[in-house]
Amino acid sequence: MRVLPSGSTALLVELDDLDAVLALHAALEEDRPPGVVDLVPAARTVLVVTDPAVTTLAAVEAALRRVTPRPGHQGPGELLELPVVYDGEDLGDVADHLGVDPGEVVRRHSDTEWTVAFSGFAPGFGYLTPAAGAWDLPRRPSPRTRVPAGSVALAGGFTGVYPRESPGGWQLVGHTDVAVFDLARDPAALLRPGVRVRFVPC
């Protein structure tokens, strides 16, 4: 564990891999050190945001170093089935990259159970990791300025669903009509950390 400075209110904890991130995040969620107001897990880091009126960064760092990580404690969350039309513009490129045909990409993507590891980029955008198999795909060489809402995409070992139209650099393989982020619904975000997802071809 490396604790890196992040200004006067936060510390960035860098870990070896996503499993270590989730294990530390689970432990911190279970037993939050006093004065910690937010936790931002990502692929290799956890940002620990503090309230300087309640605690000091030194006290939080000492508490972090005493935490026992809790591996495998993220789930199992609810299982969500998302209907997907596999008509993404980058399906062919993804198939070429993996050395298979497009039908095989669809089969592998929809046969895999995915779990939301963490969120970021936009409200309701979850980073989903596969239960098995390697999906290490590069981002597009230059990002698109407009990716439609509902686009199902892949990049860097993750899959995700764009909650609304936005710029984006991930490889598009399909789309779903399910609104993954809807403020009129409670909870607004379907893809919350720990939720398991199956993509169902339709």
Binding site: S6, L47, P52, S119, G120, A122, P123, G126
Partner: protein, 277 residues
């Protein structure tokens, strides 16, 4: 109630924002100059979490539909009779905020708070995430809440106006200064940074000597908060403000000390920012 006669260049509703929602990818948002917004609420006896109006470069005009008590803080509007001092706004009267001579954001608090419907626990408009009430338009009618506490009995708060020239703030280490050549913090601390017109509630895009990357690999996105000085491929830093993203994919070389970020939120394009270690 308060009717918006004119919104000016940009006026939004702001409160303390949405802390604690990073789990679903929602950033904090809230007032850009938190200290000024907090002062406005204190001066009219509101809760610290009450919503206020954040007017950018003046131009806001509102008409009271009942007898109200209001106050402005932050950037001092030109021609206004009182600033940092609560005043009565009678039913039917219109308050117009002139363009400030210095500073960018004026906060208008109404006793009782702006009571628009909260979204995910906050009334703040997050322009990056597209959450909260839309920016104000002429004709909007804003409900006003019930006062929660007594008036503080303060005529005027003796606080300095935002400076018009150069601003110096405290620079602290960021997590990825080692992704840049030389001592990135030294470069950040010695240059005079000019605030460009490509600046908004998300952040200030700064012009100055570009910082050079040492690491050319892709940095996996990681969490950041306001005050982060992120260095994109262009090499000139972005100082993130209230509507900062939850995570970013470019190295954060340094941070502005959190209390000083409020003052950065009052900088206009063309002003000079200096960072001191």
């Amino acid at each position: 109630m308060l009717t918006v006669v004119a919104p000016g260049p940009l006026t939004t509703v702001q409160d303390l924002g949405r802390p604690g929602l990073a789990g679903i990818g929602v950033g904090r948002s809230g007032a850009c100059d938190r200290a000024a917004a907090a002062l406005a609420n204190r001066l009219v006896g509101n809760d610290p979490g009450a919503a206020v109006l954040e007017a950018t470069l003046g131009g806001l005009a509102v008409r009271a539909e009942a007898d109200l008590v209001v106050v402005t803080t932050g950037a001092r509007p030109a021609g206004g009779p009182a600033h940092d001092a609560p005043v009565a706004l009678r039913a039917g009267a219109t308050l117009r905020l002139g363009t400030p001579a210095a500073g960018l954001r004026t906060y208008l608090a109404v006793r009782g708070g702006i009571a628009v419907e909260p979204v995910l626990g906050s009334r703040s408009t997050d322009l990056l995430a597209g959450l909260g009430p839309p920016a104000l338009r002429a004709g909007d009618v804003l409900p006003v809440g019930t006062p929660s506490g007594p008036m503080p009995g303060v005529d005027v708060a003796p606080v300095p106006d935002p400076p018009g020239g150069e601003l110096t703030v405290r620079l602290l280490p960021g997590p990825r200064s080692d992704w840049l050549t030389g001592d990135a913090l030294d470069v950040l601390a010695t240059a005079a940074w000019t605030v460009t017109t490509e600046s908004n509630r998300v952040g200030l895009r700064l012009a100055g000597p570009p910082l050079e990357r040492r690491e050319t690999g892709e940095l996996p996105s990681e969490g950041l908060v306001r005050g982060a000085l992120q260095v994109p491929p262009s090499g000139t830093p972005v100082l993130f403000l209230a509507d900062a993203p939850v995570t970013g994919g470019y190295p954060v070389a340094g941070y502005v000390a959190d209390p000083d970020v409020d003052r950065c939120g009052q900088l206009r394009p063309g002003q000079t920012l200096r960072l001191r270690r």
